[in-house]
Amino acid sequence: MADEVVLLDFWPSMFGMRVRIALAEKGIKYQYKEEDLRHKSELLLKMNPVHKQIPLLIHNGKPVCESLIIVQYIDEVWNHKSPLLPSDPYQRAHARFWADFVDRKVYGVGRKLWATKGEEQEAAKKEFLEIYKTLESELGEKPYFGGETFGFVDLSFVTFYSWFYVYENFGKFSMEAEFPQIVAWVKRCMQKESIANTLPDQKKIYEFVLKLKKIFGLE
């Protein structure tokens, strides 16, 4: 029986992008369904009743939720090429730790940076710089977070690149000036087709955020 893979997603979501990159890395054919998060589809509500969120992967009718859980599932099922997680259990635990760090720290602080003003924004900027400094330190001199090759941690973080222009604009700083190693790493990642073809243009994301701020009265 041919595999049926469906991805419910939302184009600016850095979480959804992770799944798109993983599917591209593995060469998996799938049907992409764009969700309008203000009018969620019946399918999304039925298949992810607990969180009602994207990304949602549906593999032969069975739903998998949460981007990092989806990526691990993809890696385990389609294990014939492009391994995303290391084979060594210790390296795997290390990779999961840093992907979890990205999940817990990077999204929240980025959002605060563009969604708040004044003192709150200043505090967010300070936190943002600290968190990215920690990541830059973890990257060190390595070509990728995963070492010699692109891996799970790289995947979990690189999708935020499409949001860098938003962060720079609202935070009033330059990513290249503050985090040269991270920027060099991103450029290295963008040489991969799966990433270059997946990440939306930074200006498009910026326009999206401007619209979002208007809708939610965050100007």
Binding site: H59, K62, E66, I70, Y73, Y90, R92, A93, D100
Partner: protein, 220 residues
């Protein structure tokens, strides 16, 4: 080289008891080190510099922390399967473990240990989350099926600590009326021989939290 397994934990913490349970299910010998969280040891800070928290597992000198520990234990030591073998079942187990950690436990702890004004909302939120968990349990003996699995291990606070909080404070969260399946599951879980070895002494824990709740109320 002989294997060296260290576990840095706190006797009252469900998070470090989870790791103990995973190690015991696998039959792994380990050395336990009790941490004083008001005075963290240099070793703890060395092994977990980013979050500075327990539990920390140190396997042959290499530290593993946070929610990665249980999966690591399952992957390194054969024998008792903590996660299912099937990739889809594994994804489901990971989903529910995350749900418990993200949605059930923070609210539950806030309901008892949080700011007074936040507690009522925390109770409501926890009830909603527990209701979803109750539905997931269905007619299974354990979340893992016939035997204890990762989701059961991660839910240890629900099975034991919530009951302790109730006795220490008088505030009921996990009631039989609202959550008959979870209540039954809790009894099955804490009655298991291996789990019993990985729970703190109940009376001592009640006294500990009675003290903490007393302190929280006194600071009004």
């Amino acid at each position: 080289m002989a294997e060296e397994v260290l576990l840095f934990g706190v006797w009252a913490s469900p998070y470090s008891r989870r790791v103990e349970l995973a190690l015991k299910l696998k039959g792994v010998d380990y050395k336990y080190i009790e941490e004083d969280l008001t005075n963290k040891s240099p070793l703890l800070l060395k092994y977990n510099p980013i979050h500075k928290k327990i539990p920390v597992l140190v396997h042959n000198g290499k530290p593993i922390v946070e929610s990665q520990v249980i999966q690591y234990i399952d992957e390194i030591w054969q024998g008792y399967p903590i996660l299912p073998k099937d990739p889809y079942e594994r994804a489901i187990a990971r989903f529910w473990a995350k749900f418990i950690d993200d949605k059930c436990l923070p609210g539950a702890f806030k309901a008892y240990l949080g700011e007074e004004k936040e507690r009522e909302k925390a109770v409501e939120e926890t009830w909603e989350a527990l209701k979803i968990l109750e539905e997931e349990l269905k007619e299974k003996r354990f979340f893992g099926g016939e035997s204890i699995g990762m989701v059961d291990i991660v839910a240890n606070a629900i099975a034991f600590w919530l009951g302790v909080f109730e006795e220490a404070s008088g505030v009921k969260l996990l009631t039989r009326e609202k959550f008959p399946k979870l209540t039954n599951w809790s009894h099955e879980f804490v009655s298991s021989i291996v789990v019993k070895e990985c729970l703190p002494p109940r009376e001592k824990l009640i006294a500990y939290f009675r003290n903490r709740f007393g302190g929280a109320n006194a600071s009004k």
